[in-house]
Symmetry: C2
Subunit: 126 residues, 2 copies
DNA sequence: CCAGTACATTGATGTATGTCGATATGCCAC
DNA sequence: GTGGCATATCGACATACATCAATGTACTGG
């Protein structure tokens, strides 16, 4: 029932705005939005994304907030669990990286028009 | 108590993936995402948007869910309070309409690429 | 004015969430 | 191995949220 007609649907308006979301689709995307629906996590995402190499270690992120280290760790875990952030451990440090596919999944809701190859480009460009 | 200025405060802010979001920008946009971060409300948004004339009366929406009428009313109120849905009463019925500016504010976060004239078209074309 | 319909508000209840301090784990240097 | 640093997990707490049944409000038709 969710027949996405990419070009037209996206050209005029977003899937959210054109096609009634199925119960399953809504329940699939809502957790991603929920993870993003917190000021701290929003800033974490943008900090990681804006960091050089599109990755950031926790120590950098901790300093950007007035919150305790466990709290930041908790928020990073939430973002990681829904797939918005990837986690890599190198030595003592843990680096988080934005998962472009997960972001694209949310962005598609709002009719983001992306070049087909763009989503995978950052991963390959590393 | 709810002192957020939903759409205006956020319409200018930078995309999530390029510039680190300021504390204020994050706190401005998070309530919109929070309102959307629920499967029922996501479906409500898409149902209203997909309805003819881009507006729907509560009676139509109630029937699309297995939830009680007060619960749907509550979700509509949440979406209305952050500015994502506009409310109009005509006779006995109440009609909800998507506010394209509010949706655009969220979409901008994800770097939505829209045709230049398109963003203002829905608002103006009404 | 009365009854009925459409929608909102209230009050209650269980669950989820954000935050912290304390503690655990894992890595490194000596 | 010991001590120290980076990060995660745990337990506790207060607050917020989704949901419902009951009730309130506002409009309509007779």
């Amino acid at each position: 029932m969710l027949d996405l007609t990419p070009v037209e649907a996206v050209a005029c308006c977003s899937p959210l705005m054109s096609t009634p979301l199925s119960k399953e689709a809504a329940e699939g995307i809502a957790p991603l939005l929920k993870a993003l629906a917190d000021p701290v996590r929003l800033r974490l995402m943008s900090l990681v994304a804006a960091h050089e190499n599109a990755e950031a270690c926790v120590c950098d992120l901790n300093d950007a907030f007035d919150l305790s280290q466990p709290t930041i760790s908790h928020h990073l875990k939430v973002l990681h669990e829904v797939g918005l952030l990837d986690r890599t451990k190198r030595g003592t440090w843990v680096y988080y990286r934005v998962n472009p596919d997960a972001v694209a999944a949310v962005a598609n809701l709002f009719g983001v028009v992306r070049a087909a190859g763009e989503a995978s480009a950052p991963a390959g460009a590393r």
